[in-house]
């Protein structure tokens, strides 16, 4: 399109990146936070116990709890505790006859039309935990692809559209670089536009395999929605057949039979599964028709070290203990998709690898942020020459401040809301989410009213202060603060508080740089000053010489 291939690609890179850059930054930041979804959820429910019972004991207590709480349910699903999440999550499906129509004036329709019940149980006591109502890290996870306030369906198309732009921006970015290897080691400090360009390059190239992987696999996670055409053609009017054929699932569950029977001790069933898997851990199970003569149990393997999200499962007769079915080995394409999906979620990562993923995600945020800033820095001299800041640059400036400096404020505000909103408040989880968007809205509004350099500094200072104060607020409002968590070696909660301090410090440093920033001198200006300095020195020297004479 332009005069050469590389120029065309550079043009395409600029515009695909800029057009979706701000939404992309939100998606990237929410996704990066989601690596620590469980840890964030735990920090946001400081009431949660930190128990260390074995999975056998936990499973027994789960069954006892469900027998008491939901004896009539058609099925019980239990997720056993793991090192990242010490509480047990469970839900059950009620028979149709038990479902009551929603009460008069009930605003929110319950998920699944009220057929499902759910509980979070402390495996140490077998009692339901009474924690504050919050969406925790799940909010960031959902925000990452469902956004908020708009229908999920549209949000996912919008996010997919942005991801496709991102994929194009990554490929064109690589093409644009003649010296991709050299750029990796190049950073020219305090050189205005050059420095921003170098920073953009370094952040992009350093984690390039990560950026390419995360963008492609992100589209793969929702590809059934984006590209349903293949399924439509190969399985006309029978989508379910595709999913059961391609995903090697266990057979459908039969209807409950007459008569009652007692289910074997859960420990015995889980032991059988572990033996079948040669020692691999169990992540959870679903018991169908508890109490009926044909009760069956599906046992799921923990992700552990496998890359794929498709984990093996086994089905046992829960009364006799006989193995009924094992999930069959899936085909090559299914496994490929499973690994792609798994790479995106990174559930397999232990703490070290998880930290690397998180760091790569942060570098991705910096790449997007420096990209949109770079556009404004490059555009500014053109406007400066005419003496008037044009509409386009003003708009980009405002969006840059509102996104790059404003989003950290929103993230911090969400955590503030979790600690400061009254614990017994109605619709508390929604209120926390609203705090996130009110804070972001305020930052955007301020940026649009006065999109100047000092606005950058102020917003960064506000973000820094809010992050730095999180451990303080935590200490004032809960008993799970640094004084306790460091002493007990509870590194999840302590690590969260310390990370907040680190983010605050980095934001404060950026704010300070922004505040003290001086426009870079042009080469001509520099030369002029050098000449002037040399002349002054000479004059002084001759004055000296005269005085000595």
């Amino acid at each position: 399109m332009k005069n050469g291939f590389r120029q065309s690609m550079a043009w395409l890179h600029t515009w695909t990146g800029l057009l979706v850059g701000w939404l992309l930054l939100l998606i990237f930041m929410a996704g990066t936070a989601s690596y620590y979804r469980e840890e964030i959820s735990r920090w946001m429910r400081p009431e949660l116990p930190r128990s260390t019972v074995s999975n056998e004991v936990a499973a027994e207590r789960a069954i006892a709890f469900l027998q008491h709480k939901a004896p009539q349910a058609e099925s019980w699903n239990v997720t056993l505790p793991d090192p990242r999440n010490p509480a047990m999550r469970m839900f059950w499906r009620n028979p149709e006859s038990m479902v009551k129509p929603p009460a008069e004036g009930e605003k929110r329709r319950r998920r699944g039309g009220g057929r499902f019940g759910d509980a979070t149980v402390d495996p140490g006591t077998g009692e339901e935990v009474a924690a504050r109502e919050t969406r925790g890290g799940d909010f960031f996870y959902r925000l990452h692809f469902d956004l908020h306030y708009i229908p999920v369906y549209w949000a996912r198309y919008l996010v997919g559209f942005c991801a496709m732009f991102m994929l194009v921006a990554i490929i064109t970015g690589v093409i644009t670089h003649k010296k991709i290897f050299k750029d990796f080691f190049t950073f020219r400090k305090d050189k205005g536009l050059r420095s921003w360009l170098d920073f953009h390059n370094v952040s992009a190239v350093m984690a390039l395999p990560y950026h390419a992987m995360i963008t492609y696999t992100g589209i793969v996670t929702l590809m059934f929605m984006y590209l349903p055409w293949g399924v439509n053609v190969a399985y006309p009017k029978d989508e379910d057949a595709f999913f059961s054929e391609a995903f090697a699932r266990l057979a459908d569950i039969e209807t409950p039979s007459e008569g009652t029977a007692t289910v074997l001790p859960i420990q015995q069933l889980l032991d059988a599964a572990r033996a079948e898997w040669k020692g691999a851990q169990v992540s959870g199970f679903t018991l169908y028709h508890p109490g009926a003569a044909n009760a069956v149990i599906d046992v799921y393997q923990r992700d552990g070290k496998r890359l794929s999200v498709d984990t093996p499962s086994l089905r046992y007769d829960a009364v006799s203990g006989a193995l009924i079915e094992a999930s069959p080995l899936s085909g090559g394409a299914t496994q490929t998709r499973g690994v792609m999906y798994g790479l995106h979620l990174a559930r397999f990562a232990d703490w070290g690898l998880r930290a690397l993923f998180f760091l790569s995600g942060l570098i991705g945020c910096l790449m997007v942020a420096s990209g949109v800033v770079l556009w404004a820095v490059k555009e500014r001299p053109k406007h400066a020459k005419s003496g008037k800041i044009g509409f386009g640059l003003r708009l980009v400036d405002a969006l840059n401040i509102g996104a790059v400096a404003g989003l950290p404020i929103a993230f911090a505000a969400y955590f503030w809301g979790n600690r400061l909103l009254p614990v017994q408040m109605a619709e508390r989880a929604d209120a926390e989410v609203n705090v996130f968007f009110y804070a972001w809205g305020a930052a955007l509004l301020a940026a649009f009213l006065w999109p100047k350099r000092l606005m950058w500094a102020w917003q960064l200072y506000v973000g820094a202060a809010m992050f730095l104060l999180i451990p303080v607020i935590n200490a004032l409002t809960t008993h799970a603060h640094l004084g306790v968590t460091l002493r007990n070696g509870d590194w999840v909660l302590a690590g969260f508080d310390l990370m907040m301090v680190a983010f605050g410090a980095v934001l404060a440093y950026c704010a300070l740089r922004m505040q003290r920033w001086q426009p870079a001198l042009s080469a001509a200006e520099k030369k002029k000053r050098q000449v002037a300095a040399a002349a002054a020195a000479k004059a002084q020297e001759s004055a000296h010489a005269e005085a000595n004479a």
Binding site: V168, L227, G230, V233, T334
Partner: protein, 107 residues
């Protein structure tokens, strides 16, 4: 210079289409809608054409189509004229479509 009304209308018409922003718009539409059409037909073609299990063919088609969609966007902006951008995307799309229909009719 030819001054017949027809020709002047034509030359005005021509100069309108020579505007650079129209070329950008046209290429953008080719990249977005053409690219998606190419990806969709590619997914369909792979689903019926690959000689492997049906479910696996469907999945393979989707995984490939995503990459093809990105390539279509690159092509739309890399090629010399906006017309070539459209032609280069629509011809393979049409081929995938025809191939899919033929295989479905044969099956």
């Amino acid at each position: 210079m030819d001054s017949t009304p027809d020709a002047s209308w034509f030359s005005r018409f021509g100069s309108f289409f020579a505007r650079p922003w129209l070329g950008v718009l046209s290429r953008s539409l080719a990249a977005i809608f053409g690219g998606y059409a190419l990806a969709a037909t590619c997914a369909m073609f792979f689903a019926v054409a690959l000689p492997i299990a049906r479910g696996q063919a469907v999945l393979t088609g989707m995984l490939v189509a995503i990459v093809l969609c990105a390539c279509a966007a690159l092509w739309a902006f890399a090629t010399r004229t906006a017309l070539r951008a459209w032609v280069g995307i629509l011809i393979p799309t049409a081929l995938f479509w025809v191939g899919t229909e033929l295989l479905r009719a044969g099956a």
